[in-house]
Structure formats: C-alpha cells, structure tokens
Amino acid sequence: MRFILRRIAFYAVALFIAISINFLIPRLMTGDPVQLMFARFQGRMTVEALDSLKETFGFVQGPLLEQYITYLRNLSQGNLGLSVAHFPEPVTDVLRIGLAWTLRLIGLATIISFAYGTLLGIMAAWRRGKFVDSVILPITSLLGAFPYFFLAMLVLYAFALGLGWFPLGHAANINIRQDWGSTEYVLSVIHHMMLPAFTIIATSIGGWMLGMRNNMIGVLAEDYITMAQAKGLSNRRIMFSYAARNAILPSITGFAMSLGFVLGGALLTEIVFSYPGMGYILLNAVNTRDYPVMQGTFLFITIAVLAANLLADIGYVFLDPRVRA
C-alpha cells in the first residue's frame, strides 16, 4: 500500500510539471497564431481585418505570466479555453470527436496488437525454430520495418480502390445518419475500421512479438523452469504461469506507455484513411499555432500516460511479488 501511495504522490508532482511544460512548449515555437490565421487567406483578406483578429485573440497575445495564470485558473475549473483555429468553439468540443474515434480505432488496434503479439512471442520462444518462430516472426518484423505511409497507401489502393472490398475512407458511411443504436451504422463503422486497424496492427505486432520472445527465452533458461519441468508440471502451466508471467513485465511497461500515447492519435492513419482523430487535430493545431488546442491535447496525453503507468505499477504489484516488499 505504501508503495502505491508513494507512486500516486510522485504522479501528482509529475502532472503539475507536465501541465506547465504543456503550456510553455507551444509558445516556444516561432510564429504567431493571429498572423498565421491572417496569412492563411494568402492576400484574399484585407490587412485592416488584422486588428480585429488581434483583438479577438487577446487570450493568446498577452504577457506570458498572465496567460499562464489564466491557464492554470481555467484548468482548475476543468475549462480548457477556446480554440484559436475554430474560434469560438471551446477546446473540449474540438477534441471530443477526435478523442472518441482515436480511442476506438487506435485503442482497439493497440490492444489487439499487444495481445496477439505477446501470445505469438510466447509461442515463438517456447517452440524455437518452429513455424511461428521461423516464419511468422520474420514476416511481422518485416512489416514493422515498412514505412507506415507506404504500406497504408498500398493497402488502400489494393483493397479499397482496386478490389473494392473496403471503403476509401471516413469513419463510417457518410450517407448514413450517425446513430449508435442502428445496426447498419455500427456495421458500417466496423467495416470502415478494418483496413486502418489492420495496417496499425500489421506494423506494430512485430515489435511486441520480438520483445516478448526475447524476454521469454531469457526466462526459459532459468533453473526454476527446469525445476518445474522436473516436477512434471504441464507444459501449458509452465509456459504461462512460470515463464510468461515473469517475461511479460517489461512488455507491460511498454504497453502502458503506448496506451498513453494512443491519445496522440495516428496522424498517418488518419490522413490516408480520412479517419477523424487526434493526430490530425494536433497537426492542425501546430500548423495554426492553436495554443489552447495543443495544451488540451498534451494534457490528455499526459494524463493518459501517467494513468497508464500508474496502472502498470499497480499491475506489477500483482504480477511480481518482489515489488510488494
């Protein structure tokens, strides 16, 4: 228990520091949101309009300390402020849609990729040199080494444009009303999710598999495995309860980290498959120097990474008795 409390205190301090850095980082970039918004019109807007823009965006123009205090005060009330690029929309509204789709697509894909990757890694280590180890592992590693954009475009051209099995883009058929109660809509969402999810899993599964396999091999060489075998325990029991349980610890940390980063979105996936999500929102925010949206996105990522790590720490407590001491 003391261990968990100590971790929580540590995370609280880390959160505060991260929040402050989230405020500072966007403002360290050259470029000014108001000038960029004006420039977006490339001379199609009269220069007189600049004054009103400056006035509108007073909240990103004042002295840094003043902005920081306002930011902290708003944050303590759960208010992320107003977006610059989508003014007068609040940041929470801008992030809402992207967050939901990112969680669905990237979250799901990450979990599937981790689960199958780890399982395959265990099998590869257990039967070294056999099919999983000598055929599947090289294939997944090769896929992981592919430039993602290239693989995604290839898949899109082959299965969507060429064969027509999958839609060219979007999160659902845009001709169907969005209604989570309707089977047609839900099926359309799943249909639209398959291709992007496949590309994400295909490029990330190799990493999980290789990591797990290598950890597992180290553990399998331990004396207690030989001991367990000598005791005549079933292979399944040795494989999962004796070997994998120990070997999975580093993978759990990696998984927690990547779950946290899920919220950053997957920019390339989103662009190739016209999929809504946080990556595109963040890219747009960076391009327009939309400080409030950047802060909001970073905040969610920070909280998610910290929360996932906290969960991983707690998970350790259960998986590894040594930590409990």
Binding site: G31, Q35, R40, G43, R44, T46, S52, T56, G169, Y280
Partner: protein
C-alpha cells in the same frame, strides 16, 4: 465628370446576368445535391458565426450574403442585398439602397434595420470587425426605410467595395445574444441561397436550399454537400471516382490524373487571375538593397521553366508590373517600356551577368562565386514553405538560375509558420510569396509598398515583406483612394507602377492559378473556359463571387442527378 456613381442595376439585370449560360428559367431542371470540396478537413468545422475568424467552409456567401458581390473576372460590382450605392459630393459618406422583399431563412423580413444593427454590433464589439470597416467608417445612419448612409472618417473611395463585402446578421436573433463574440448559432438564420443547415454529421455537412430565397426560382439545386477529405490524395481520389461535382484543388498533372478518367465529363480551368506570386528580396539587407542587384535577379530567372515545370504549366509568366491578365488593361505602357529597357521579367542570363559585373558583383577571390562589393563572400538563402511542392520546384529552378550566373544561392524550406515569421520580421534574404488580390490593382501595390502597413514593432504586415518604402509612393497610394475621378486614379496608378518597376521592388513571377474542377455527369451551368462568367473556384473569398456560380448550377437534365428519388 460627376463624382457620383449611381449603380442602378435593376433586379432584372442581375437575373439575366446569372442566366447567361442557361435557357429560359422554366426549363431548368431542378433538384440534386452538389458535392463540393475545396478545403481539407477531417471533421466538420462547426463555427457557424459569420464573424468567426475561420468559419465553416460553406458559410460565407452560401449562407450569409454580402451587400454587394464583386466579380473578379468582369470587374463588375453585382448588387446583392443592396441594390446600389452612391457617394456624397464630398466623398465623406456613401449611401446604400437596401433590397426590398428579402426574407431571412426563418421567414422574418430582412430590412435596413438589420444592416444597421449588424454594423452597430461590430462597433460595439470591435473584435467582430472582420472586414476592417472601422478603420474608415465612423458611423451609420438610417435615411429612410430602404436607404442607409455610412459616414466615413476620411475620404476613401474603395469604401463601397469593402462595405459591400459586409454580411449582415438578423437583428431578431442576434439582439438576444448575450455575447456575440463567442456566440455560435446552431442553425444559422441568414438570407443566402443555402441558408439551411440540414445535415450535420462528424465528417459531412449539407446546406439545403433556402425556401425563402429572394431570387425567384433560385437556387436550382436542392443542396450543397461537403464530405471530409483530410488531404489532397483523398480529395483527388474522390474526384477521380466521380464523387465530387465541384472542386477547388491543386491536382498534379491534371490532364492525366483527372480529366483522363472521364474526358467527357471531367473539366478543369485554372484561371490565372489569382494574386501574383512574387520573388521577394529583402531590400533592407545587402546586396538586395541595391536596385542593380534586384534588376539582375529579375533578368536571370527562366520564367517559362518556372511556369512549365514548377507550376505544371498551369499559369503564365507575369508581366513586370505584376498585374497579371486580370488587370492587364490597367498596366501602364510607360512602366512596361521602362521594364523592357531595364530587361525586367525577361530571361537573359548573359544580360544578368553583365548587370552584376557592371554593378561590381564580381568574383574577387576566385572561388567561382560572385562576391559583395567590398569583396566579402556573397551567399544567400532563398526560402520557400516546406511541402508546397509547386513552389519548392519553382524556387529550385530559380536558385539554379542564380547559381548559373555565379550567385551562391541555396534553397531553404522552413515550416509555414517559421517562413511567415521570417518574412514579417525581415529575417530572410530572398523568398517566394503570394500577394494581395483585391478589387483594384491598388490593393496589390499598397500591400507591397505602403509603409503604414509596417507596424511600429517593425512587423511587415500584409505583403510589405520586401521592406521597400518611399514617401512618394506612400503619398501616391493615399491619393488613389482620395479621389473618385477615374482619370486621376489611372494617372496615379501609372505613377505607382513606374515606381514599382524602376525600383524593382519585387520580382513578379506568375499570376496565381485559381484551382477549379467540375464534373458535368450530374450538373451543368458551371463557368467554363469559353464562358467564364465568374470565377469558378468554390473557395470563399472577399468578393463572394462563388455565389454567382452556386445559384447558376443545375442538373444536366431531369434524371441526371437522381431528382425525385
């Protein structure tokens, strides 16, 4: 010459104008949903206030209409919510006549009071002044039920254009709004042909026809629909698959990648009437402060290759005045003659080398590169926005041209925000950049040369990026908008051009192509290259001229766009 301009174009004329490409109105097939794409977006931008700095891409014009529309192609002002305007004799006020019989989309009548209310709104909440009207309008007065007078704080004879761009909001809705600055209407009430937001999903929205629209029988189509495409590849794919009816996208090698997919129905016309793309030389820095050096730069560029290779042949080389085909008639012969004499805007590497030799930029240390006048090494960067492939290629050609005459120039590609910041703070050597395209050529020159646009903090606003100013041109630029006499304006404009050319303030490269593609499988009535009645690109602009196209599009025949299904 009278100082009055009375624009008494009747309602009939407006209609017949719109109909130029169509047969009798009764025969026009109705219905259908036009799928449009110009801006890249991933989820729908739900800023539905006309005062939003970056509103929904379909909002301006289609939903909220202006008082006057101006047509970039013909140079005409088309009466819209106002039927005409008239300056007072002292030019210190301009009176607008407000159209009668217009209804808001909720059925309430539109009146002069709405316009006055809307203007008072921006006076009260100055941050809503998107058109920058408060810079020259001091107040608004109701003359009678259909006339309102805008009082000007100084003589400004472009006032009618800028006030004409103003898009009023309904008083009966906005007067109840607590904070108009952050107000975001859920379903905007407006006067436009498509002022009815009927579909709003995360990745698509549709603007349906306004049944109360004031132009009898218009628009012909039922709705305009915007699906989300987050990048060029996605929208190009949708265009090729025939999903999109009306687009405003850059398409590489358009003949082969787009038209070839369905030559009978897929069309494009990149009218070279956008703002001129210039090469900016930082005239506050050596050696770019030297006119002779700038003259040599203007001579060494292979304009034809820039246009053919960098811009895929989508535009033409600019003339040295930078006015382009849109304002060709305003180009001063005297300025053109001066330019010809100086060899500006004509590719001649030998002459450029001679100009540089003569000015003293010679290779002093024998390293193969020309040096500064004092003998120090001369090397500079040409900056272009990272990822803007057409511009990057253009700049690569220009840099090669520079190297060919012995100038040690390198391409640098900062990210957009940094690129802009460099230009505005004067922290660059040479850069490619756009320029302003307004109602008159005055906007182009003013935004490049007017010293009042350079802030007290030294920030080079608008396109004053060259940093070149002179009191004389400042006076000329001010004089242009202080007179309503056309002959006088022409004379002033000629003098401005003369100064622009003589000093090689910037090096005009090519007029910006306006991206526009249309698909005639379902719809017709689009401007074509032969009948370019208005600018075809669906992008929202100050002119609001996309309205002219939107109310003119209609189904090819009674079945082409799935009517009545």
């Amino acid at each position: 010459m009278s100082k009055k301009f009375l624009l008494a174009v009747s309602m009939l004329l407006v209609l017949s104008f719109g109909l130029s490409a169509v047969v009798a109105q009764d025969d026009v097939p109705r219905g259908g949903t036009v799928t449009v794409s110009h801006e890249a977006f991933s989820t729908v931008n739900t800023a539905w206030s006309p005062f939003a700095p970056n509103p929904n891409p379909g909002l301006l014009g289609f939903v909220y209409e202006p008082l006057l529309v101006w047509n970039e192609v013909t140079g005409e002002i088309v009466p819209w919510l106002a039927t005409g305007y008239e300056y007072s004799d002292d030019l210190l006020s301009v009176t607008f006549t407000i159209r009668e019989g217009v209804l808001w989309s909720d059925g309430e009548p539109f009146s002069a009071d709405d316009v006055i209310f809307s203007f008072n709104l921006i006076q009260e909440y100055t941050e809503l002044d998107r058109g920058g009207l408060l810079g020259f309008v001091s107040g608004v007065e109701k003359v009678d039920d259909t006339t309102i007078r805008f009082d000007l704080s100084e003589v400004f004879t472009q006032a009618h254009v800028e006030i004409g761009e103003f898009r009023p909001v309904p008083e009966h809705i906005w007067s109840e709004v607590e904070d108009p600055v952050t107000y975001n209407p859920e379903n905007p009430v407006a006067t436009g042909p498509f002022a009815n937001l009927c579909v709003l999903e995360e990745q698509v929205f549709e603007l349906c026809r306004n049944e109360n629209y004031w132009q009898e029988g218009r628009p012909y189509v039922d709705s305009i629909r915007y699906p989300a495409y987050p990048g060029n590849e996605q929208s190009n794919l949708a265009m090729v698959s025939g999903e999109i009816d009306w687009a405003g996208h850059f398409v590489p090698d358009v003949e082969n990648t787009y038209v070839a997919a369905d030559p009978e129905h897929f069309n494009y016309y990149f009218w070279p009437g956008g703002g001129t793309v210039n090469l900016y030389l930082n005239t506050t820095k050596e050696p770019f402060s030297d006119v002779a050096f700038r003259q040599a730069v203007s001579q060494l560029i292979d304009y034809q290759s820039v246009v053919d290779i960098g811009m895929y042949g989508y535009t033409i080389p600019s003339d040295p005045t930078g006015l382009g085909p849109r304002f060709a008639s305003a180009a001063s012969q005297e300025a053109l003659d001066t330019a010809a004499e100086m060899g500006l805007g004509t590719y001649d590497a030998e002459r450029a080398a001679a100009t540089l030799d003569e000015a003293g930029y010679v290779d002093a240390d024998g390293d193969g590169w020309r040096d500064n006048l004092d003998g120090s090494a001369l090397a500079f960067n040409v900056q272009v926005v990272n990822g803007w492939t057409d511009w990057v290629t253009s700049v690569q050609i220009i840099t090669q041209n520079m190297q060919d005459v012995g100038l040690n120039a390198q391409v640098v590609t900062p990210e957009f925000g940094e690129w802009l910041n460099n230009l505005q703070t004067g922290d660059y050597d040479v850069s490619i950049g756009w320029s302003s395209s307004g109602f008159t050529p005055w906007n182009y020159y003013r935004d490049i040369m007017d010293s009042t646009l350079i802030g007290s903090d030294g920030l080079r606003n608008a396109t004053t990026w060259a940093g070149w100013t002179s009191e004389e041109t400042d006076e000329l630029l001010a004089a242009f908008t202080s007179t309503a006499d056309e002959a006088e304006q022409t004379d002033i404009l000629n003098q401005i051009q003369q100064a622009f050319v003589e000093n090689v303030v910037v090096v005009p490269l090519f007029p910006g192509p306006t991206w526009y593609e249309w698909n005639t499988t379902r719809f017709t009535g689009f401007p074509t290259e032969d009948d370019y009645y208005a600018q075809g690109s669906p992008w929202s602009r100050d002119s609001n001229s996309r309205l002219l196209v939107a109310i003119n599009i209609h189904c090819v025949d009674d079945t082409s766009c799935g009517q009545g299904e």
